[in-house]
Subunit: 427 residues, 2 copies
């Protein structure tokens, strides 16, 4: 068996602790699969006193994470600090500058600086591995970049944020509103104290930007992802969606067409029988459609110490074996990004209107004027003179027309709140 692979780990929070424990608990198995032992030589973290469940005796401790890159006992730098800037970026830059391969779980860093980092890593001839950055323990990066590499990828659809999926699942099951379930999720540790990264869709958008770059062979383009979160989802809409045969899910969706590439993260209605509709709770799932393989779906835990450590150590085993893949998979495309206004699909609209004659006629006249045709309409109960919900489902229409119609509908006197608009997706 060859010389051990020396690892330096920066960041010993949930994931870092998980990696330490996994490398220790399954050391023999990992060495057999890697062809040599994988040994932690050095670490860097803020808190020296916290118990990580593993003895750190004999492991060097660097106060400055970037010093890991200079440590001669470190062959591979594992970056688990997080964040697109600051010490995480400084460490990855330092490692690449020293010609040391990097394993990271940092989706923000890759989504924002991935193109420049990949170029630097390729110039240096080193690997930049990031299986853990998307969908935790599900080996989706490897599936896209290697397992399905013979395919022209047509589309990707995924549940990429466990916190949002957990909140939406509980809202549906319990019929309760967003704020209540969020508070409960925070109490239980399923949502952060500042939950905006998750619930505003940013985290899912980082991951989708990475998947889209791999799928379509082009530079990662986070700023081109259209992002909407789940703060606006109400128990009312989840209920109506259920009546219509749908579930509401936060999906990441990327699609290649002749015109270019669309990438968007937003809540949407998915038919109850569709594969992604049935993925509940904290689970993640990704459906990849390739031109020859058809649809492949991968499902599993998208976060947590164990699943994320599983992905980090899989990358280390690849490095130990000398298995290398270009950062973005090798294919290069310059397809343009499409704006959300170009999206064509079906829409769910829910209005709160004054229950009086003529309101529906006014609303439908606006839709007609914008060329939007209706598939169905749902109006429940009567309360003359008071607010009642009206739900409309459209046939396929262009987002720009839909938005123009909504602006006019929202301005009608009888429409009492900002209309709720959700896209309907195949899932």
């Amino acid at each position: 068996m060859s010389r051990p692979l020396g690892v330096g780990i920066a960041g010993l929070g949930t994931v870092g602790g998980g990696v330490l424990r996994l490398l220790s608990a399954n050391a023999e198995l990992i060495a057999a699969r890697a062809g040599r032992p994988i040994v932690v030589r050095a670490v860097s973290a803020r808190d020296r006193t916290r118990d990580r469940g593993v003895a750190l005796d004999g492991i060097a401790w660097h106060d400055d994470a970037a010093a890991l890159a200079a440590d001669p006992t470190v062959d591979v730098v594992v970056e688990l600090i997080g964040g697109a800037e600051g010490p995480a970026r400084a460490l990855v830059d330092a490692a690449i500058a020293r010609g040391k391969p990097v394993v990271t779980a940092n989706k923000a860093l890759l989504a924002v600086h991935g193109a420049a980092l990949a170029a630097a890593a390729e110039r240096a001839g080193i690997a930049l591995a990031f299986e853990a950055a998307v969908a935790g323990g599900i080996p989706v990066i490897k599936a896209l970049r290697e397992g399905l590499a013979a395919n022209r990828i047509l589309s990707i659809a995924g549940i990429l944020n466990g916190t949002c999926n957990y909140i939406l699942t509980r809202m549906r099951e319990e019929g309760r509103d967003f704020a209540e379930i969020l508070a409960d999720a925070q109490r239980l540790g399923y949502a952060e104290t500042d939950p905006s990264f998750d619930i505003d869709g940013i985290d899912a958008a980082h991951k989708l930007a990475i998947l889209a770059a791999l799928a379509f062979g082009r530079a990662v383009a986070f700023e081109a992802v259209h992002v909407e979160g789940i703060r606006g989802i109400s128990a009312l809409d989840i209920g109506f969606a259920g009546e219509l045969g749908y579930r509401i899910k936060l999906l990441g969706l990327a699609r290649a067409s002749e015109a270019g590439i669309s990438a968007r993260v937003h809540p949407c209605l998915v038919a109850q029988g569709a594969p992604l509709a049935r993925v509940d709770g904290v689970f993640n799932a990704v459906v990849i459609e390739g031109d020859v393989v058809g649809r492949v779906m991968l499902e599993g835990r998208g976060a947590g110490a164990g699943p994320t450590a599983s992905a980090v150590v899989a990358d280390l085993i690849d490095l130990a074996r000398g298995r290398a893949t270009p950062v973005w998979g090798g294919a290069v495309s310059d397809a343009p990004s499409l704006p959300i206004g170009d999206h064509v699909g079906c829409y769910y609209l829910r209005l709160m209107v004054t229950d009086r004659p003529g309101v529906i006629a006014d609303v439908t006249a606006v839709l007609r004027d914008q060329g939007v045709s209706l598939e169905s309409m749902l109006q429940r109960g009567r309360a003359p003179g008071e607010a009642v919900p009206v739900v409309l489902v459209t046939h396929e229409t262009r987002e720009s027309a839909m938005r123009a119609a909504l602006a006019r509908i929202g301005a009608l006197d009888a429409v009492l709140e900002k209309p709720a608009m959700l896209r309907i997706e195949a899932g």
Copy 2:
């Protein structure tokens, strides 16, 4: 870009034709992902006249498949002939003897001779790749051998044969019997003229043997797989299973315990809400449970020209990039195989009995004597003196006890047919 990778393909049936078309249609993309062009230099097949949808001009044609191994233009041999013996085996032996890497979709060859072939390939220092041998286009070999390599695999459960899943799905949806649906499936091309390899579970057992070897890091042991097919499944049992909240699926199941490894392929009852219960038609799916990652499920098309070619070409891209993995993943275990008699689980029994007093008392007395306890019993309708079905569901019990009880129950005068016994699995 480096020198092209020269490929020799033996067998130009459905899959071989699919590989030819894929290498041609996506040539540019494949070259980008592989780092160099992948070019077919030579082929071997019985029928020179058949149209494969791709021009074969300039490609050498060998009547003897084994001659591909000796062809100096061939860097990699792709074996798509099939069968555990004969020309497929001769070709793979010849390729290994010449030090040429092999890509194969041949599950029978690997299940039966995989240990010897792997040893020979490793002595020769060459790759033996077989992503296409299990679950078609789903990259499950790569997931097990690389993506989840940091995990101790606890169990595998899969729908590994599309023909059986298609037949069972249609039997359930249409309430029709096995023979009828099989005949229809043969007419439609979903089942072979001689369907026994599929419907008797052999094909699924070949695949399960391969997955178990990878999962548990031990020599492939096809002969240790307990195999039952779906010929005995009746519309009656599918109906009763549905009433009890289950679907009947042919699963491949492998599990590691302290005592050893169990591997079995048989029809079983899976709760309707379980992930594998919802995989219908010709789709395949595999649930892998790892000690740190938890449960990961992969789903997609398990057969057909496109999906299988996708997997074959992914292996070629790995070879072109120089990515290599030991044939069985690198870990080595000598855990023993457990006999089916040691299986412990819940069972569904369906008896056809004469409808007269005392029959149920006799049956339940036998079960009690073998220590088998009942969870529920279902008896529908009365027909004094005639045959009626009785369905029993047991609590957890040992297979050996169950079998002893069934032998005695089958011998009772009032029991008119061989009892139907199906295991209940978590799925």
